[in-house]
Symmetry: C2
Subunit: 72 residues, 2 copies
Amino acid sequence: MISKHEILNIFGENVRKFRRLLDISQEELAHRADLHRTYIGMIERAEKNITLINMEKIASALEVKIEDLLKN
Amino acid sequence: MISKHEILNIFGENVRKFRRLLDISQEELAHRADLHRTYIGMIERAEKNITLINMEKIASALEVKIEDLLKN
């Protein structure tokens, strides 16, 4: 799914990119971020409008800054 | 109110800072961002966990990047 909200696509693609750089599964990222695996999948596919607190959880789990997840 | 989530405080303080630099009211910012005035107040006071799409709306209305609203 491509969201009509480009910013969600950018965020989701960056989450997937950095997750793969760490060579971890969605399940492992979910565990590290204290979120649900299906939620991580929805974020990567830009199917959900993420909140700032969850953006921070994911950035922290990926060992990057929130800003890194917003770069196009 | 000070949120226990520091990132919400940072975001809210930056929204207020850039809004004042533009010398506009919460009501005017709300109008420009197509959000409600009380919502802008809650965001500035870190009382609400904002979503990425609304972060983008506010950044655009303030003529800054989302990243500028995350700087401590």
